[in-house]
């Protein structure tokens, strides 16, 4: 009566049981397959085409590494590598300490106005990268108010590129470092204090090591951002050559697509290296995060707090001075001769000049990117995380989803030309349409959005799907009734992120627009080329206004509508 049935059963003699798949499982697996296919077609295939083109000549004949040899034999092109890396190094060296100090002030001091300062520090995200370039020309350029401070040196060239890039990259670095500092364990500080550790020693033994991964990660993001940036050197770089600009010149200027492919591969190398370091660091940051840390609560120290406030106010003032100059330029008649208020850059420069359509194109593009992108990315992340079967395919999709972060927009855009402009590709109907702009932008910003979705989904109980199955409720019903409502904040966040980036992006789409689908950020480039700096500033201001509007709507929606519909989030009242 107490014997257990234990049979030795060798796996060789037993035939593995094949479960009967429910059509629900088949459906989710089919969708997953579709997702994988889409990533292959819209990400992997274009990138593969770059590799192919780089070993061919203009006529498509295989020439091996000849293109690369030519490239490295051209001194001007070789110089670009040195330029690009030194500019990126300088921007990283300035931006990361700046962002760290700012984040340190936000997390470790008791200064007032923290949330306002934080908000102002993130404003550069709302602007296209061309905005700081235009603004710095107004401040320090040939007609600049502060030109004399440079003492004869020109802002056009490395100086302009560096300060503009610092402005544009600052919020990205700030967010990463801020997260790292917020994760610090307050108990470590309490332990140090009880041991009588001096403040400076606490900083070097606790704060800095704790933020280490965040700092490295921020450095890598800033580095690859600067390396990939194309708009800033185009506007304020003068004759200073960088890799991203070389690609543009080879492809658009000389129509030498194969040389462009070679340069883009050269550009890909530093970005990929930074990307690999960054993802390693992000992994370690997450590992720190999972421990049960007690948040650090700073204590008031008047002298320190005032110093930190002074620093942050200075940084914010500078940031607002950049943004403000661009807006100001758009509203005056003619810098620096006639500074009277005028709407002519908007009315005459944009509307009468026929350029305003670019702004509406951008709105349309951003709207569809946000809508389609959010649905596809969140839906894809759901299928990946919450359904079962086909584990090999899942691993492949995870890998593909991580790639876009390591691919500069210029490279992606060039790959799209090669792949979708190919006469034999049935998908070339997409080329020159709005669809290709939307698709390339979704892919370009896929990784961050995907990670946001995955994080939100992982926070859900793993057994929701199992419970649903036991109750005979189809998985898609639970997806709509439970998963989406609970993840709504993350979904809205993804939508906002995609919208703002679609409004400001320039690198991937510069190769893909047609006269009918010209975008606002590209119009800025052309206006600037034509010397219409007032109209360019006006367009940049419109982009900032649109991005800001969406962010405000997002904030209002999350605060009011969510609080109302998500009563369940309210604190426990037992």
């Amino acid at each position: 009566m107490t014997t257990a049935t234990v049979e030795a059963l060798s796996p060789a003699t037993a035939t593995r049981i094949k479960p009967i798949a429910h059509w629900h499982d088949r459906l989710s697996q089919l969708l997953l397959l579709g997702m994988c296919l889409a990533l292959v077609v819209f990400l992997l295939a274009p990138l593969a085409m770059i590799l192919v083109k780089s070993v061919q000549d203009r006529d498509g004949a295989f020439v091996g590494l000849q293109q690369f040899r030519d490239y490295f034999d051209t001194p001007a092109l070789r110089q670009s590598i040195v330029h690009t890396l030194s500019i990126a190094g300088a921007v990283t060296a300035i931006t990361v300490p700046l962002a760290f100090s700012f984040a340190y002030a936000l997390t470790r001091s008791c200064m007032p106005f923290k949330s306002t300062l934080r908000l102002v520090a993130l404003t550069p995200i709302l602007a296209p990268s061309l905005l700081p370039a235009i603004s710095f020309i107004q401040w320090f350029g040939t007609q600049g108010v502060l030109k004399w401070t440079l003492g004869g040196a020109s802002v056009y060239g490395p100086t302009g590129i560096i300060i503009s890039s610092v402005y544009a990259a600052f919020p990205h670095a700030l967010m990463i470092v801020l997260t790292a500092l917020l994760l610090a364990d307050g108990r470590l500080y309490e332990a140090a204090e009880s041991l009588g550790t001096p403040t400076l020693r606490r900083f070097f033994t606790i704060t800095l090591p704790g933020a280490k991964y965040g700092l490295i990660s921020a450095a890598m993001v800033v580095f690859s951002y600067t390396v990939s940036e194309f708009g800033i050197p185009k506007v304020i770089g003068g004759n200073f050559n960088v890799l991203a600009l070389d690609i543009f010149k080879q492809v658009i200027g000389q129509q030498n697509f194969n040389k462009g492919a070679v340069v883009s591969l050269v550009l890909l190398v530093p970005v990929l290296v930074a990307f690999v370091i960054d993802s390693t660091m992000q992994g370690r940051l997450q590992a720190q995060f999972s421990s049960r840390a007690v948040p650090f609560a700073p204590k008031p120290k008047p002298a320190f707090d005032v110093a930190m406030l002074g620093f942050c106010v200075t940084v914010c003032t500078l940031l607002l001075a950049v943004l403000g100059m661009a807006i100001y330029t758009s509203f005056i008649k003619l810098w620096p001769y006639d500074k009277s208020f005028s709407m002519r850059h908007y009315t005459f420069g944009l509307v009468d000049g026929g350029v305003i359509s670019a702004f509406f194109n951008s709105l349309e593009m951003a709207f569809f990117t946000a809508l389609v992108g959010t649905v596809l990315i969140f839906g894809g992340a759901y299928l990946l995380e919450k359904t079962r079967g086909m584990s090999a395919l899942r691993a492949l999709i995870r890998l593909l989803a991580a790639i876009p972060m390591g691919v500069p927009g210029m490279v992606l855009g060039l790959g799209y030309i090669f792949f979708f402009n190919h006469p034999d590709n049935p998908l070339n109907v997409l080329y020159h349409g709005m669809a290709i702009l939307v698709i390339s932008t979704i892919i370009h910003y896929y990784t961050s959005s995907h990670l946001t979705a995955v994080t939100a989904l992982k926070a859900l109980d793993n057994e929701f799907e199992a419970v649903s199955a036991s109750l005979k409720v189809p998985f898609y019903k639970t997806f709509f009734r439970v998963t989406i409502p609970v993840c709504l904040p993350a979904i809205l966040d993804i939508g906002r992120y995609l919208f703002v980036n679609a409004m400001t992006t320039i690198s991937a789409v510069v190769f893909l627009y047609s006269p009918d689908t010209k975008l606002a950020s590209l119009a800025i480039l052309n206006l600037d080329d034509a010397g219409e700096i007032g109209a360019a500033a006006a367009m940049a201001t419109l982009i900032v206004a649109a991005s800001t509007t969406v962010c405000v709507i997002y904030a209002v929606v999350t605060r009011f509508l969510l609080v109302r519909t998500q009563a369940w989030r309210r604190p426990v009242t037992v």
Partner: protein, 363 residues
Amino acid sequence: MPQAAASKDSYLKLESIRKTFGKFVALKGVGLAVERGELVIFLGPSGCGKTTLLRIVAGLETQDSGSIVQGGRDISRLPAMQRDYGIVFQSYALFPNLSIFDNVAYGLVNRRKGRDEIQRRVSELLKLIGLPDAGRKYPGQLSGGQQQRIALARALATAPGLLLLDEPLSALDAIERVRLRGEIRALQQRLGVTTVMVTHDQEEALSMADRVVVMNHGVIEQIGTPEQIYREPASAFVADFVGKVNVLAAVAEGGGRLRVGRLLLEGAPGAGALSTGARVSLYLRPEDVMINGAAAAMPNTASAKVTKVEFLGAFCHVTVELAGAEEQPLLINMSRHAIDDMKLCPGAALSVGLPPECMRLLV
């Protein structure tokens, strides 16, 4: 008493279930039968395969080989959607954005029941679990124990033939856990629903189950009533895992006698069958050891010296050294009163009796 051997009409029959994860063999060909209306508990340390076995029954994992028959229907290959069970997880897995009412009604709505019928069924269930007024609240507004009751109600709503409980009490605090285990057992008996539960808590298993399935390393060590598991452990693992036990190294001396150290013991069940010189382990529960007066009339008595008294609240652990077997300390459970009466403290002497009928020999 339920029969362990699979009778023809056992409600749930598992046969030769084998499951591997890569190189790791989680289940090495496990078989058992659960009778209609019975509460069977899988008990074992973490990694023993108990949860995997439950998930295989639920269709959330697929066994490599082996068959499952539930209510006469072969469900070995069926997806979870087509099996008939309700399940409760350790994490409750309540839908946070749905009210308690909607949570409990979740499976009913899908069966196209009328609104009135759903309303009636949900309030009936909420009454059954003792939370009749919780319907409009959200899971986050209830305590852990209340949430687990709701999860139970949700699992029972569609009147499934089988109830699966995956460590349902592990996330609760000690008091709530004891209260809820009584409630779950009472509810299960009232409804007569066949239930399989997984736990690593032996007290939970012994107090709730009709039968306990003790598992270790992907193998069933023993199936039996709580009484049998505790009193007649089939293996050293079961004896060790369930309850506290003294393990004494003994040598068979022939004629049914055993030697522990220099001490000769008589009458242990099964000792007569051992060949002289065979080494065995003698298992004896701490509460079965007799002391002083009670020990006087016993065959196996020895004088002992107290080395340690450990206060545990309701009772105490007294560690003694037996004269003649000093190197194998013996643990005895005693009440606080008994210790006070005898003024036991380290160094005190007492006489100890080892009742042969309570001994268990395992190789």
